[in-house]
Amino acid sequence: MSRHCRICSAFLLGLISSAGCAAVSLEADLNLTPELLQQRQLQTRRFDTTDEQRILNTCAALLQDTGFNVDESDTRLGIITGSKKRDATDASQWALFIVGAFFGVSIPPDDNQIMKVCVTTRPVGESVKQVAVRVVFERIVYNMEQRISKIEALSDPKIYQSFFEKLSKAMFLDAHDI
């Protein structure tokens, strides 16, 4: 067996074994787990206001400020979704690609990404009127061959903190943890 053939078969085997286990499963992904509830805490803040409309307007402006294009919105239900396409090149992946090329292995580096955002608002609280704002960021990364290399939720707390900081500055209101 030639060396090239061996690498190919190893790659194929890897593909077959990975195909058996998908990143999303029917059994696990429709159940509420403690991790998912933790995500909710990270992605949600409450604002002391009853003016949901104003929050939505401010969010729409904030999304524009951060370069997102609005894809879908429904003010009655309190949702705005947006997306943007950005560069995703990473120097370390290029280094790996060049090293790989010497050994005849192709590891295509990431090229571009679609970043998605979804903001939802909803009135909460019985006596104290507040509006909860939830934001979710996700990205789809394409490699040089324009194939999807990664789809992931962005869960770095810093991203969410800075989003809410910007939002409360724009609203002149304090954001409370839930």
Partner: protein, 148 residues
């Protein structure tokens, strides 16, 4: 040299393949392979409320809690569509898409129907829908009634 018999067999085989191609497109387009009545009962639940807005907001919150990204929402139609896709180096890409509709059922109830698609297949087992409605019940603070 191909014998006459083999040629005939090949022709039959090819025409069979062509024919099945047509049939599967039809089947997939209208997905008529499972019992519609049974599927509808898996996918539907009735809630004792007439507040459409609150129900739709609860559906949106539940889908977000489950890690879905909202694709569409329309109050007038009563439709919420969301999807969850993940892919990484170690695992194959997975995608789950859900559409949930809300419509009045009688005078005092709302009917919530969800249908899902996983990878390239429609979801026809009851369990995933049960899990979804369990989560929705918690967000609605209401019991979901099975509908016949």
């Amino acid at each position: 040299m191909i014998s006459e018999r083999l040629k005939k067999n090949l022709l039959v085989l090819i025409s069979l393949l062509v024919l099945t191609g047509c049939a599967t497109t039809h089947d997939r387009l209208l997905d008529m392979d499972t019992s519609q009545v049974q599927l509808r009962s898996f996918q539907s639940r009735a809630f004792d409320t007439t507040d459409k807005e609150k129900t739709m907001r609860a559906i949106i919150a539940t889908l977000q809690d489950l890690g879905f990204m909202l694709d569409r929402a329309d109050y007038t139609l009563g439709v919420v569509a969301a999807s969850k896709s993940r892919a990484d180096v170690l695992r194959a890409p997975g995608s789950l898409r859900v559409t949930v509709t809300v419509r009045p059922r009688g005078e005092k109830q709302l009917m919530v129907r969800a249908n899902a698609e996983y990878q390239l297949q429609p979801v026809t087992e009851p369990k995933p829908y049960q899990n979804f409605f369990n989560s929705l019940e918690k967000a609605m603070f209401l019991e979901a009634h099975q509908v016949d």
